[in-house]
């Protein structure tokens, strides 16, 4: 685990925030504009209703593991917390061109001082609202979002192969004995055993 200032793949290494393996954390606490909490709730309700759209937007972005919005302190403050691959602002310019930018705009326009997602100063604004974590750790530090997606596809295909009688026949075929004996294939069989 390292702090963001030591992250070596960031194009902006001076950004705050901690990293663990391939991922970084990002948490902002913003002031909700007076009387805007209900409007903000409506935005979140809309985002829930359009969860498929949100998921498509996340797929477009491709680096976000999880994100959440929380209204707290008697409707006066908003927390946005997320974990993503790479440094926070590696792709932030790019996000402004994706559909997730619209969501950011809809949410944060109800907070004080938000300049708009395409404003050149938006990174500085977010950083000014950011509170870096003191501890940040994940259970799969080496896996990026895109690897997790690929792992999921591999597992689904593997499980489907296990269900075919042809796979059982291949295991029983003496011609495949050398392949079966390799440590890599033994590992596969071990996974397949349960």
């Amino acid at each position: 685990m390292t702090t963001g200032t030591e992250a070596n793949r960031s194009a902006q290494p001076e950004r705050p925030g901690m990293t663990d393996g391939v991922a970084s954390e990002f948490t902002v606490f913003c002031k909700i504009k007076q009387g805007h909490a209900d409007a903000l709730r409506e935005v979140f309700a809309l985002m829930r209703d359009q969860s498929q759209l949100s998921r498509d937007a996340l797929r477009e972005v491709g680096t976000l593991h999880y994100a959440r919005h929380v209204i707290f302190d008697n409707d006066t403050r908003l927390m946005f917390a997320s974990e993503f691959d790479g440094s926070w602002d590696t792709y932030i310019d790019d996000f402004a061109t994706t559909s997730i930018a619209k969501n950011f705009d809809m949410v944060f326009r109800h907070t004080e001082g938000f300049p708009g997602i395409t404003d050149p100063n938006v990174k500085d604004w977010f950083v000014s609202q950011q509170e870096p974590a003191l501890v940040f750790s994940g259970s799969y530090p080496d896996l990026t979002v895109s690897q997790i997606w690929k792992d999921q596809r591999v597992n689904e295909s593997f499980q489907a192969v296990l269900d075919t009688p042809e796979f059982q026949a291949a295991l029983d075929n003496p011609a495949n004995a050398a392949l079966l004996a390799t440590p890599a294939f033994q590992e596969l069989l071990d996974v397949a055993a349960s």
Partner: protein, 439 residues
């Protein structure tokens, strides 16, 4: 607003001629008044305006400054502070971001790179030696006549007799079109980019004005250059190809898979199975392609191939490719390693690369850190550019093919950074402004 094209150093937008000869000079300014006197003498050598559409017509000289150079000329601190952080820090300080580690670590750089002595970078590029001489004549006279300014490094560059890089591939093929210049890009399927991606003072692809150093007269119509001297380990490249193939045909194919083009320049996306010299040399066809529709999974041109990483076009990647375009100008130095030789002859050879754009961080640094030195954007986390990446003997390359992808192991580094600097290439009015500084 139209581009003030006559105020832009024409070298900024000039495509490399072919063939070409050129020269890079690094100057140190020991006295600000001498530095300004030098600039006054240099000014007539620097031409602004639209370069001709035919790069083989013109020769040109360019004058660019490092942060230390601007300071040495007496640019006020408030103005120096208005430059973006990467420029103020300099390329050597950004080594971690750029992947200049191990052999490429700035501690091993050729002097004076990475030191505060590099102030002014003068470059000249020309279709032939006579015109280069003419383009640099005034520059040479200027620094010879100016005590207090010293040439501390120089490098001649030239196209190799093969017309290719030291690795054996035709280069200089791909460049973006820029709105307002009227010069089309090399890929007819790529819409021209907003001028602000390459020239300060105009809106960029995000619709914003790029951050511009102040005062306005200094920043407007300027741009940034990342200049790098890159040593190529040609023997190691040939040895690796030989060791991982069983025939010359396979060797050529593996090399092409790592580069993304055949030696002639023909792109794998258009000619996946063999070289096609007619295609490679045809400027109307050799860059006329996209990836998504016909080669999304990289069975023709691997997603990790050098040209596809450096410019992923419309491929399915994390992020928006158009925000990371750059003008690349690679020029070769040193003797070629004779064909067929697999042992290193100890000669210094490689290329001096110039990378031009309005955003050092979003363009050059992003391309280096995310596209060349990582593979997350294409789903191969940690895998680097097979040719340009720093591998240290532990690199891997994935080449999609059926029934199973090929994955090469234990890749050494084939390119070593010998030095480099971030420079600011001002417009002509800004150059005059620099000569008129008072204090």
């Amino acid at each position: 607003m139209g581009l003030e094209i006559d105020d832009i150093q024409s070298g900024a937008l000039h495509h490399r001629p072919a063939p070409y000869v050129g020269k890079f000079l690094v100057l140190r300014v020991d006295d600000r008044h001498a530095g300004r006197a030098l600039l006054r003498r240099l000014l007539p050598a620097v031409v602004g305006g639209l370069p001709s559409a035919n790069p083989n017509k013109d020769a040109w000289a360019g004058v660019a400054f490092t942060y230390h150079g601007l300071r040495a000329l007496g640019v006020p601190q408030a103005s120096l502070d208005s430059f973006p952080l990467p420029f103020r820090q300099g390329m050597a300080a950004r080594a971690d971001v750029l992947g200049d580690v191990g052999e490429s670590d700035p501690v091993h750089w050729e002097p004076p790179f990475g030191t505060p002595d590099v102030h002014i970078v003068v470059s000249g590029l020309s279709p032939d030696a006579a015109r280069l001489e003419k383009a640099l004549e005034r520059a040479r006279a200027a620094y010879r006549e100016t005590p207090g300014v010293e040439v501390i490094w120089q490098q001649d560059v030239h196209q190799l007799p093969t017309g290719r890089t030291s690795f054996g591939f035709r280069d200089g093929i791909s460049y973006p079109g820029i709105e307002g210049t009227g010069i089309p890009g090399s890929n007819p399927q790529e819409a021209p980019l907003k001028a602000g991606e390459f020239i300060l003072g105009y809106p960029d692809e995000t619709g914003n004005l790029p951050p511009m150093p102040q005062p306005e007269v200094l920043g407007r119509n300027g741009t940034y250059l990342a200049v790098r001297k890159l040593h190529t380990k040609v023997a190691a490249w040939r040895q690796y190809l030989r060791a991982n193939t069983t025939s010359l045909d396979e060797e050529a194919r593996l090399a092409a898979k790592m580069i993304g083009r055949w030696p002639s320049g023909a792109p794998l996306t258009l000619s996946p199975d063999q070289d096609d010299p007619a295609l490679g040399t045809d400027p109307h066809r050799n860059n006329d392609f996209l990836y998504r529709e016909n080669d999304d999974r990289g069975f023709k041109c691997p997603a990790g191939a050098h040209i596809r990483r450096a410019n992923p076009r419309d491929a399915n990647i994390i992020g928006a490719a158009r925000l990371h375009r750059i003008i690349r100008r690679g020029t070769s130095y040193g003797p070629p390693l004779p064909e067929g030789v697999l042992e290193d002859d100890g000669a210094d050879r490689g290329l001096v690369g110039t990378f031009i754009g309005a955003h050092l961080d979003r363009q050059f640094e992003f391309i280096k850190s995310e596209w060349i030195n990582d593979g997350n954007f294409i789903g191969y986390s940690g895998e680097k550019d097979p040719v340009a990446g720093h591998h240290d003997g532990t690199g891997t390359v994935t080449i999609p093919q059926k029934p199973v992808r090929r994955r090469l192991q234990n890749l050494p580094s084939f390119v070593v950074t010998r030095g480099g600097e971030y420079c600011f290439l001002p417009g002509l009015r800004a150059l005059s402004w620099l000569t008129e500084l008072e204090n």
